[in-house]
């Protein structure tokens, strides 16, 4: 089957019900997207499908024909994603870092849909787990992206 990942088309010999996560990691060698729970509980596997945050561990690849998948490997090719990463660096967000690919993807998706999210919207959308407890830094970094005067103007 055919999958478009980070703007590149891939021909893949996989069963249609294989979760996207394992196609990314084991077939394409893109290990930036993490396995954490396999049940869409933790968010470590979050990728963007047509700009929306999706849990790749429970997304069969058969659902993705014609869709455009963006992973953490290409997040800086996206202008908003690049600014999210810059804010993550500025606020020194990660600790162990394992959940942070998913956090960056979830934040990018949030900021695309809600360019100036309230704290309540951040609470509602940023449900990815972080055992190191980087939540305050995540919140601060998201607000920082919004404080850029050019953000959300398009």
């Amino acid at each position: 089957m055919e999958l478009t990942i980070n703007g590149v088309q891939h021909q893949l010999e996989v069963e249609p019900d294989t979760p996207l996560l394992w196609v990314l990691r084991d077939d394409l060698g893109m290990t930036g997207t993490k396995y954490g729970c396999g049940l869409a509980q933790c968010g470590a596997c979050t990728v963007l499908v047509d700009g929306q945050a999706v849990r790749s561990c429970v997304t069969p690849v058969e659902n993705l024909s014609g869709a455009s998948v963006t992973t953490i490997e290409a997040i800086e090719q996206d202008d908003l994603g690049k600014r999210v990463v810059a804010a993550w660096v500025k606020y020194q967000v990660p600790q162990c870092g394992y959940c942070q690919s998913g956090q960056v993807m979830a934040a990018t998706s949030l900021l695309r849909q809600h360019p100036h999210p309230t704290d309540q919207e951040i609470d509602a959308v940023m449900v990815n787990l972080c055992r190191c407890g980087t939540y305050n830094a995540i919140r601060a970094a998201i607000h920082d992206v919004c404080s850029d005067p050019t953000h959300g103007s398009t």
């Binding site: 049940l39 600790q95 960056v104 407890g133």
Partner: protein
Amino acid sequence: MEAAPVNLSRRFFILSSTGAAAGAFVLGIGLPTRQARAQSAQAPTFRGTQVPAFLEIRPDNSIRLQSPFIEGGQGTFTAMAQIVGEELDADPATFIVENAPAGEEYVVMDNGRRVTGGSGSVRRGYLVMRRLGALGREMLLQAGAQHLGVPVSELTTQPGQVIHAASGRAVPYGALAHAAMDLPVPDPANVKLRDPSQFRWIGKPVKRLDIYEKSTGKVEYTVDVRVEGMLHAAVQHAPRLGMTVGPIQNEDQVRQMRGVHSIHRLPGAVAVVAERWWHAKRAVEALLVDWEEAKPGSADAIRIMPAEFSSEEFRQHLARATGQEDDAETKGDVNRALKNAHTVIDATYFSQYVNHAQLEPPSALARYNPDGTLEVWLPTQAPDMFRADMAKRTGLDEAKITIHSPLLGGFFGRHFLYNHATAYPQAILLAKATGRPVKLIWTREEEFLRDVLRPMAVVRFRAGLDAQGRPVALEVVSATEGPTEGGGTKRGKSLDPSALEGLTNKSYDIPDRRIAQLFVRSPVALGYWRSVGNSMNDFLYESFLDELADKGGQDPYELRLHLLRHNKRLTTLLKAVEELSGGWKRGPFTAPDGSRRARGVAMASPFGSEAAAIAEVSVENGRVRVHDIWEAIDPGSIVNPAIVEAQVNGAVALGLSQILLEETVYENGMPRARNYDGYPILTLDRMARVHVKIVESGEKMGGIGEPPLPAIPPAVANAVSTLTGRRIRSMPLSRHEFAR
């Protein structure tokens, strides 16, 4: 420019000699740098002096440092770069830090062990790593003298270069490193360290070295490692520890499932090896195994989990337990003091089992090489201990085993040597059986099944108050088993100090006291959890102290000040957190948003540091909400205030998680929760604002990764007790009913 080739060619040599393919599968981790050509005669009395084993300075002036302490999010790599860089005279930003492989040269702790834990990396590595940097600088100066043909006394350094001021010449370290690392290591006894008043990087909020890579998915954890020809594996463990593999009902059918390479019987588990992990996982979960009950008295050094075990019943068992009480601390005459007390107060407190729940599931990659050597990639807090264990398991000489330690996807005490709770013994067996490299990843469900737990405790407190309502006598008996004695099958000869830490050696001036353990063996295998005994015992003690304050008509903040009146350091700290919070305001009071709120205070003395915290809470829709945490922490002195602040935030999050939400429940010998849906942990929406005050008293340096945690649960519980008028004596709060 003759610097680089030796190191690079040695690198290549190592790779080719161990059978690694060049190119995509080359891993830039764990490859030893050079050994010291000539060892100092003083080496045996000073650890960590083999400079070339630690430092590789490249032609581009970047510095590759082999860290004896493992990075798992606590910022150790950056701290090591700051400490070594300060004395080497090199900007920490030019460092590339890696987890050093196992090996005697990296055993830098005075006790002759190498462990990353106990919040010990910076405090135990501080002097030795400064000395290492200073020795490296002297070697570079000597090489500079040879290179420039001038006496070494005419040379000095600036960050990254040797300077000859008289001639205006400067030579970058990268151009001198090759010659420098071939020189004998100078006598560490005479090495001169920098005056702390001249520090440029120690004590500064230096940016962490791995943040960009961690923000863009570029860091490689063990689960991400790949080597050529590798197969993937998944396991299904016996539902209860100690059971063994019996007949498999559908082995032939499962062998026909897509992608399956082979099916394996392992101690207490079955495994499927496949070309892809998803196939291995699906197939192993399809296996129908008739598990056989553990044979009593079987020789395996593991605990046998009884079929009827229930954590709720075990809690009642602990509450009823009687027997020998082993004194861990006695002072004065507690019996007489209790008899003479104006009022005696009894209360029983409880702390729950909890899981580590680190985000990276256990994994290991094992490869036997054609020359008979074994390489293992795995998360570990103690590479040498793990290597020794692998040697025992495989019969290989330790010299034939190479350990690679990628960064840890979460620490929290999960990566010690827990006999049955690690993936590498299975990965090694599977690599042996298949003749191929095998990477094993446990599913989250298998992790919840086999994770070691923080001990459960039921603690009976009895205290005597004087006529003024202040505590004068305290008796504490904890029915529990410590995490150190709780891993294997035998109890140690002496008391496990980690069972009662947080109850013992408190600084409060309570003249007569006895703190004892009533040892009760837990069928559950136990382990270390961030802040270990303190993480539970400070909740128990500090909550009971507030209960005493209430019973004696004392304000809990004022009572603590009184009990610490002879302790200047802790008085300063307690006042610092009070000031940070804008003044002590216990409440209940009405906040500007109209909600009823209260504050609680608590203190702790974990891992050589001192902490004091104040929490502000309300109850919303029957659920406790923690709005703010103010925490003052005194680790004596610090290396990086930004990392300290990040660690306080992280420790607060874990402290909140355990007081608000967490509890591991066993029923019928099995954990009820097998994933995060059944074991909720703190989410962003329940995180409190965190306000940090670092107090540098100048006392002996303490730890920072764990110490901010233990004061948090009791500060929250005390606030909730004040707000609701009902004393909280057990965690988590999700077990308690609150008015909506």
